[in-house]
């Protein structure tokens, strides 16, 4: 994850540093052209010819816009090497495309743009460290999650059991992720039980039953069509009786625009009073990620996010989108089909991965 985005961001940063050099003087321009050519050659390997053409045009236009002022206005620019709004727009345009291509939602791109603009416009071009500013912008969006295990253990000293509700749209991977989280908790010496509160989808109960069997933990279940909130309530009662530390409640997938279903999840939250509400999103979701995260955050005030299917794509933009939309931390990333394929989200690591 993030591999592709990292590569592109790096290219953008180095390229625009070269661009800065261009403005400084005419002499350096000749020297400058060769690395640029190499850059486009590198791209040729990766992209098809049609795309290459567009990229070339883009580069050309960028080159032109960088070069023309130095040619036309000559010495005038020497006194005015400050980043103007228009120049910023030009510079950002390409970064915008890179971010969008990597699945960062439009809204989040706009927010990054705004924070960069505030910092950079009017500054002396020489003083501007693009990599640093971009890093700061993304850093301010991503949130470091609190220590998951510690949070639970601290809370257990006051009350027990610790209840976690999982919610998300259909097919996002709630049940699989719950099994992974259960496994993770067990590894950290916490006892776990599950609640099959997805009483709607065909075979959802059988699915979570198999996970419970595999992990040798208790599952509270009822018939299909029964009230999901009551399943959660029963699971908590069972956990209290049997001194189980953590209860994980699986809920049915629901589209965020279905009012009745969103009311249902509100009811589950109201009845079970969870200590943690987790929204499950998919790493492959595009602009809708923002809508989904926002809707679930609004109706249940989520504690954190888990992004599933992070192994599927190199693009990592969804992480930025959901963080920006909710202001809530990403707790884990789902990275595969096995129980161990659950990675604690680490902001520092993520930013390092971006090469910033």
């Amino acid at each position: 994850m993030f591999g592709a985005l990292k590569e592109k961001l790096k290219k953008w940063i180095t390229k625009n540093k070269e661009g800065d050099l261009d403005i400084k003087g005419h002499d350096e321009k000749k020297v400058d052209k060769s690395p640029k050519k190499q850059l486009s050659k590198k791209k040729k390997v990766k992209k098809s010819k049609v795309l290459e053409k567009q990229k070339d045009e883009l580069e050309q236009s960028l080159e032109e816009t960088i070069n023309t002022p130095s040619e036309e206005k000559g010495f005038f620019i020497k006194f005015k090497k400050r980043l103007t709004e228009e120049k910023f727009e030009e510079l950002f345009e390409e970064l915008e495309i890179i971010l969008l291509q990597n699945n960062v939602a439009y809204e989040s791109v706009e927010s990054i743009k705004k924070s960069l603009a505030e910092k950079l416009i009017g500054k002396n071009l020489k003083e501007v460290d693009l990599a640093e500013e971009l890093k700061n912008a993304i850093e301010s969006i991503l949130i470091n999650p609190p220590d998951f295990i510690k949070t639970i253990k601290d809370s257990l000293e006051i009350k027990s059991p610790f209840v976690i509700v999982f919610a998300g749209i259909n097919g996002s991977g709630k049940t699989t992720t719950i099994a992974k989280v259960a496994n993770y908790l067990q590894k950290n010496k916490l006892s776990v039980s599950l609640a099959a509160a997805d009483t709607f989808r065909a075979a959802s109960i059988e699915q979570i039953q198999q996970h419970a069997d595999n992990l040798k933990i208790h599952l509270t279940k009822k018939d299909y069509g029964s009230d999901p909130a009551s399943v959660g309530f029963d699971a908590i009662t069972h956990a209290k009786k049997n001194k189980i530390d953590v209860v994980l409640i699986d809920t049915a997938g629901r589209m965020q625009n279905k009012d009745t279903l969103m009311k249902e999840i509100e009811k589950i939250v109201r009845i079970t009073k969870p200590d943690m509400k987790i929204f499950l999103g998919e790493s492959i979701t595009g602009n809708d990620a923002t809508e989904q995260a926002k809707a679930f955050n609004e109706s249940t005030d989520i504690t954190g996010i888990i992004l599933s299917k992070s192994d599927i794509d190199e693009k990592g933009g969804t992480a930025i989108s959901v963080s920006q939309a909710t202001g809530k931390p990403i707790l884990f990333l789902g990275t595969g089909q096995k129980y161990e394929d659950l990675e604690v989200f680490d902001k520092k690591k993520m930013i390092e991965k971006l090469g910033l």
């Binding site: 749209i169 959802s204 492959i284 979701t285 595009g286 089909q337």
Partner: protein, 452 residues
């Protein structure tokens, strides 16, 4: 609705083109930005978005095409290109006996879609069997079994067997009795070589008549890569896009399909078993634009562009004649292009930020008063507003007749004089030859004199 934002962006773009007096760079750039934004928000592949923008620009900047021709061609271009983005319509025409294999990412909705489709075809008289080959996900077989029960279809499953090939062998005789076999496979990542190899093996053994890719509507820029990888491995015959009932715009999935030349046969529009629809890009676009067809769209352009009026103003400008009515109709046509603040934003050197918002609102209400005042004038006064200034009693009469103040009328006259003066410098405007410098010069003059 799916892509509704795109629809409104396109509609407003087309409206702007239709209503504009001159199709200039600023106007086109603004429209392109709007369309770009909505396409990107709908998850349409970025490269496609920029290719489309380039095409629009190329046509719009073409100096050899002018006036109404350019407008028509622009609208046609936008219409055609967007339709192209969504691909051609292709109905799934099944032979008497057919087998369909479904594949796709984890959680895309393969099993649910199979049950829906089974139900859809059973209602249309087919003898349908569902074959479960997802041996990976816990309870996948149970899910298919339960869905089959709900829909009264026959499901062939084996909850214990882990090798899909063995399940195929086990049921191959039974399946011959059915005329439509829908095959469920495990979810897989198109970029995972091992999983792709596995599906290739299944494909070889089963030789399905159709390979159907199932893709969720909210998938983002990943859509293209996934569609391409599956296409490369198996040659996909068609796609079913699921979760079209969410807030996602489906642009990623829909355009990825068009790009990989795999038609979208169906879209899933809900959780219930009957919630599946066929997909027709053409009618989809029509719904999006709220217009019957391209012809109707072009008619709209023609009617919105008052050719006579524009011509009259152009002639007047060239003759140097300019009446209050001309002033008014020009201001009005400018208004049609958008509100005053947008208009001011279009003039370089005169940003809307420099003009307080309530002033702009006032200006718009002033326009209404002016209209009333002009209606109260005699033809002579409209043709030669100078006489109003010479005989101020005329102003008083008009003000009484129209319920406006004399100040307002004087202001109108001032505007008129100023604009007439500007006309002298901008005779080039009529031929669309106006350049940046000229505009700035005009704006300077305009800014200096105009008093809101």
């Amino acid at each position: 609705m799916v892509l509704d934002k795109l629809g409104s962006a396109l509609k407003s773009g087309i409206k702007k083109i239709s209503n504009a007096i001159f199709v200039d760079k600023k106007l086109i750039d603004g429209i392109i930005k709007d369309i770009q934004k909505s396409l990107i928000e709908a998850d349409v592949n970025i490269e496609l978005v920029f290719a489309l923008s380039q095409k629009i620009k190329k046509l719009a900047y073409d100096e050899t095409i002018k006036g109404i021709d350019k407008k028509e061609q622009l609208v046609k271009l936008i219409h055609d290109e967007i339709t192209l983005l969504l691909g051609k319509e292709k109905q799934l025409k099944l032979p008497k006996k057919a087998s369909l294999m479904f594949l796709g990412l984890y959680g895309a909705g393969k099993t649910t879609t199979i049950a829906k489709l089974g139900f859809y075809y059973a209602k249309r008289g087919r003898k349908v069997a569902l074959l479960g080959l997802d041996t990976q996900r816990p309870a996948a077989m149970d899910q298919l079994e339960q869905l089959a029960k709900q829909t009264n279809l026959q499901a062939f499953i084996d909850k214990k067997e882990k090798d899909p090939l063995k399940i195929i062998k086990q049921y191959s005789k039974d399946l011959e009795k059915y005329d439509l076999v829908l095959i469920d496979t495990a979810g897989r990542d198109g970029l995972n070589k091992e999983l792709i190899k596995e599906i290739e093996k299944l494909d070889k053994r089963l030789k399905p008549d159709y390979r159907i890719l199932v893709m969720p509507a909210d998938v983002g820029q990943t859509a293209k890569t996934q569609a391409e990888e599956f296409q490369k491995a198996l040659s996909i015959d068609g796609v079913i896009v699921t979760r079209m009932d969410g807030t996602s715009k489906g642009g990623g999935a829909l355009t990825a399909c068009a790009e990989t030349k795999a038609p979208v046969f169906f879209i899933g529009v809900g959780e219930q078993i009957h919630e599946i629809e066929t997909f027709n890009p053409e009618s989809f676009i029509q719904r999006l634009l709220g217009m019957g067809d391209l012809q109707a769209l072009l008619e709209h352009v023609k009617s919105a562009t008052d050719e006579k009026q524009t011509k009259r103003i152009e002639e007047r400008l060239q003759e140097g004649k300019f009446t209050l009515l001309d002033l008014y109709s020009q201001l009005e046509q400018m208004n049609k292009m958008g509100s005053m603040d947008k208009l001011i934003g279009m003039i370089p050197g005169m940003s809307a930020a420099k003009v307080p918002k309530n002033v702009l609102a006032k200006q718009e209400s002033k326009m209404k008063h002016w209209k009333n005042a002009i209606s109260s004038m005699t033809e002579d006064e409209i043709e030669n507003p100078e006489i109003l200034e010479k005989q101020t009693s005329r102003i008083q009469r008009v003000s009484k007749g129209s319920g406006t103040t004399t100040t307002e009328i004087r202001e109108l006259l001032k505007q008129y004089k100023m604009l007439k003066e500007m006309m002298g410098m901008q005779s080039g405007l009529a031929e669309g030859k106006i350049d940046q410098k000229m505009m700035q010069k005009m704006a300077k003059k305009f800014r200096g004199k105009v008093k809101f």
